[in-house]
């Protein structure tokens, strides 16, 4: 017996995963959701191979609390590892059950049966029966046993195929995909919220008389500092919200730190320090050994970053006969249901949360908060579906941001130029203000209700490779090393999981520092890394990137142009990625222009090469945007990044050529793809700038102003 994959062990009924439909299709289920990462297509490939059916017959149904397949969050690059591995086993077992049924029906031993596109044939006598004749529309009523072995890698046809056949792509291109904000329903109302002007603001007074006279306005909701409107038509809801904004008087407070000195602010806060051993917080950290004669020190930082989805958050909710249904682009509908139940004082059974695709979220953005907003408004209009949409300013000002970070690194280089001692200390605020943490709901409107929902202060995330300390442990092997996580509980701005969490800042720092140490001692950044690197898969990825880029670490021969490399294994347990960046720094404007990004990655077994490359390259370009351009701006009381002019992101004129070399590992576990390249890309850019112009940039974003500051400091 094989041990069942954890998600299958938790939900062993095969009917939870696979359904032979009435029509000649197969529906497979997952507790994960499609976020634009290509999950649907990848799961369909896995099931098609195990069940021996054509890919076109596969339907994939994502998380819906009514179905009961609870896989918590779609996060952490774990969808393939969790759901993909479970579905593979479930589909293999479902095929075995169907073969058993066929053997009974045809009266022949199983060994004589073969399956081709869902039709089971007796190879000796030629009798045949299809999955649909055997079981169409009927449950299998069997539990996974672990007695069936999924197919060997060499038998895969769909898995690993270079074919570009992502099953949900056509709808995205012909416009037929219904995103959550595209939902329409009979009798539907449009909802908008009127957020406070700043995080600490409280509503003093609000004149809503005139608003109720506006055309189409059905309800004006005020609960404490939460204000929302419902109208028959969308433009009426927008007009009512605009008027409400003008009629509201707020008490504001100056609660935000100086945006220009965020790293210093982090460093000065009271914190909880944990020593990290093998990626796990293992007790309180002592101050660093003052006896160590550190030969090299450097500190790196990143500011608050936005998820900055192109589509603001939205949700639809219907409150009818004591039942609440929410259509949401949440990453975790089951967790959202728990949070909604507690926030609204309802039983779980009274709530259904259904995932509907949304604009890319890149982690925990405003999706869950919008679902709660929709629910609060829907309760005011029983029996009528409410489509709630955030505005662009709502999204920019109120999504939970990616946490700021400060990383201080120290090293001792021995006489041979090898690292003898290493210290990594990282400061940050929480990365997991998920909708439900430590048993209490975290939903934005809850902070504005009267009384507010009792959200507790954030607590340190102590799991392996979690949050702030994700990838704080170096991939390299040093004789002595020490890793410390400083958890800062203060949270002037809400923060939560942004793609790659702490890995972005930690890898940026480690891989920049490695480069500084190499260059400082006149060594090739490639050979210096290899000299400290034992993991053969990591070495192979590094060498593949260098080979694909045709650049082995030689210093730039052309002033203003340079290349840099960086490497990481996400969470020190998932995908390996090495990134080579080539760029030029404009002498007149101090602007950094990326010319080329080359990625090499080992993501374990690759299910969909085109999809994996899309994720790896998307991660790299998003990281390039964070690294070159992005920081949430705020004054003493309010976020001032309210639109795309005040929070610019990467544009087509700034996009480099991108290419990827995948190292496929058929038969090995899936390692995920979505968060592997962010950290290495940031460091590779910094290292390429150093190569191009000899300036070391240690604080993102690398704006022209930062480049000039570095030049002045170096002069």
């Amino acid at each position: 017996m094989r041990p069942l994959p954890p998600a299958l062990a938790a939900h062993p009924e095969l009917d939870s995963w696979v359904r032979v439909d009435l029509a000649a299709t197969i529906t497979v289920f997952t507790g994960k959701v499609e976020l634009g990462q290509g999950l649907l297509g990848a799961l369909a490939r896995i099931a098609a191979d195990e069940l021996d059916v054509a890919l076109a017959r596969l339907r994939v149904q994502t998380a819906d609390t009514r179905h009961g397949l609870d896989e918590r969050f779609t996060a952490g690059s774990l969808s393939m590892m969790d759901s993909g591995t479970a579905l593979r086993q479930a589909a293999a077992e479902a095929r075995a059950v169907l073969l058993e049924l066929a053997a009974g029906q045809l009266g022949v031993p199983i060994e004589r049966l073969e399956v081709a596109d869902g039709t089971i044939t007796d190879v000796a006598k030629g009798g045949s029966v299809s999955y649909w004749e055997l079981s169409g529309g009927r449950p299998l009523r069997r539990r996974a046993s672990g007695a069936v072995q999924p197919k060997a890698a060499q038998a895969h046809r769909a898995v690993g195929s270079e074919a570009r056949n992502r099953i949900d792509l056509r709808g995205l291109i012909d416009g037929t995909t219904r995103f959550v904000g595209d939902l329409r329903s009979e009798g539907m109302l449009h909802g908008r919220v009127v957020r406070p002007p700043s995080p600490a603001a409280r509503l003093l007074s609000f004149e809503d008389g005139a608003m109720r006279e506006l055309d189409g306005v059905v309800a004006v909701v005020r609960r404490g500092s939460f204000v929302g409107v419902l109208a028959e038509r969308e433009e009426q809801a927008v007009a009512a919200a605009e008027l409400a904004r003008r009629r509201a008087r707020w008490a504001q407070a100056e609660t935000l730190p100086a945006a220009s000195a965020l790293a210093a602010w982090l460093r000065a806060q009271p914190d909880e320090a944990f020593l990290i051993r093998d990626g796990v917080p293992a007790g309180a950290a002592e101050p660093p050994d003052s006896e160590t004669a550190w030969t090299h020190l450097a500190s790196y930082s990143r500011p608050y970053l936005m998820h900055a989805s192109i589509g603001p958050s939205a949700a639809m909710a219907l409150w009818e006969r004591g039942q609440l249904t929410v259509w949401t682009h949440s990453q975790g509908v089951y967790v959202l249901r728990e949070a909604l139940a507690q926030a609204l004082g309802l039983d779980h059974d009274a709530i259904r949360a259904v995932h509907v695709v949304g604009p890319g979220c890149y982690g925990h953005n405003g999706a869950d908060d919008a679902a709660f907003d929709a629910a609060l408004l829907a309760i005011e209009a029983p029996g009528r579906p409410v489509l709630l949409k955030w505005s662009r300013a709502d999204e920019h000002q109120w999504e939970p941001y990616g946490s700021p970070a400060l990383v201080e690194l120290r090293a001792v280089l021995d006489d041979d130029g090898r690292i003898a001692d290493w210290s990594h200390e990282v400061w940050g605020t929480t990365h997991r203000l998920r909708p439900m943490v430590d048993g209490s709901p975290n939903l934005l409107a809850g902070e504005h209700l009267d009384p507010p929902l009792g959200r507790r202060g954030p607590t340190p995330f102590l799991a392996k490779e979690a949050g702030i300390h994700r990838n704080a442990t170096p991939i390299y092997e040093f004789p002595r090393s020490r890793v410390v996580k400083h958890f800062v509980a203060a949270m002037p701005l809400r923060t939560s999981s942004l793609r790659s969490l702490g890995a972005y800042a930690n890898v940026f720092a480690i891989e920049s520092f490695m480069d500084e140490l190499a260059r400082g001692s006149g060594r090739s950044p490639l050979h210096f890394r290899l000299a400290h690197l034992r993991d053969p898969r990591a070495r192979e990825v590094l060498e593949a990137a260098v080979d694909a880029a045709g650049w082995g670490g030689a210093p730039s021969a052309q002033a203003g142009r340079g290349s840099g490399i960086a490497l990481a294994r996400y969470k020190n347990s998932a995908a390996y990625a090495a990134v080579v960046v080539s760029l030029r720094v404009d002498d007149a404007t101090a602007a950094i222009w990326l010319e080329r990004i080359v990625i090499a990655a080992d993501c374990g077994e690759v299910v969909d090469p085109s999809g994996a490359i899309n994720q790896l390259e998307g991660g790299a370009l998003q990281s390039a945007s964070w690294t070159l351009k992005e920081q949430v701006a705020f004054d003493a009381s309010s976020v001032t990044s309210v639109d795309w002019d005040s929070y610019p992101i990467l544009r087509f004129s700034e996009v480099p050529a991108v290419e990827t070399r995948l190292l496929d590992r058929p038969g090995l576990p899936f390692l995920g793809t979505g968060e592997a390249t962010q950290g290495p890309t940031a460091a590779a850019i910094a290292n390429a700038v150093a190569d191009a112009v000899g300036l070391r940039l240690r604080d993102t974003p690398f704006t022209p102003a930062r480049v000039r500051e570095a030049a002045l400091a170096a002069a």
Partner: protein, 159 residues
């Protein structure tokens, strides 16, 4: 007091059809397309003409629809993403996006395709600079830019 906006009748030319809509003057075209005509491919991204998720063709030009009132479009030829395919056949630009798998979440893609169609109408053989310039107002957050560029080059017969 708030002056109630008067609901008026507007005649629009959308995807080759004559459509009569009854909405308040001042309503952005995007809301009319999505809510009154059920054409939801064009997306709300910012309402500020900053991201082009809402782009549609207006007399052949890629135009934002999120902030300009419906009355400005009377007498103009509007084509949305839904109007590009002919007899179930994808437009060559759509086909190129499909072949390059140039989408991740897909939210910005309708606007991108509209932008590329408008460009290729203007320039049959655009240069790399012209492609980038045409798409520069369009924002993508998934980092699909390089594939989108490849798709447009493919549609232009340069791949």
């Amino acid at each position: 007091m708030v002056a109630a906006r008067v609901v008026e009748e507007f005649e629009l030319d959308v995807n080759g059809r004559r459509e009569i809509v009854r909405v308040a003057a001042g309503t952005p075209l995007l809301m009319v397309l999505r809510n009154d005509l059920g054409l939801t491919a064009a997306k709300y991204g910012c309402g500020l003409e900053q991201c082009f998720a809402c782009a549609v063709l207006v007399d052949g030009e890629a135009t934002t629809s999120c902030a300009t009132p419906v009355e400005s479009f009377v007498g103009r030829r509007i084509v949305t993403l839904e109007g590009l395919a002919a007899d179930g056949e994808l437009h060559p630009v759509q086909q190129a996006f499909l072949e390059e798998e140039a989408a991740q979440c897909g939210y910005c893609i309708p606007g991108m395709i509209i932008g590329a169609v408008a460009l290729l109408r203007r320039e049959r053989k655009p240069t790399e600079e012209q492609i980038r310039a045409a798409l520069d107002p369009h924002l993508c957050r998934c980092g699909t830019h390089w594939r989108i560029l490849k798709a447009v080059r493919r549609a232009a017969g340069q791949a």
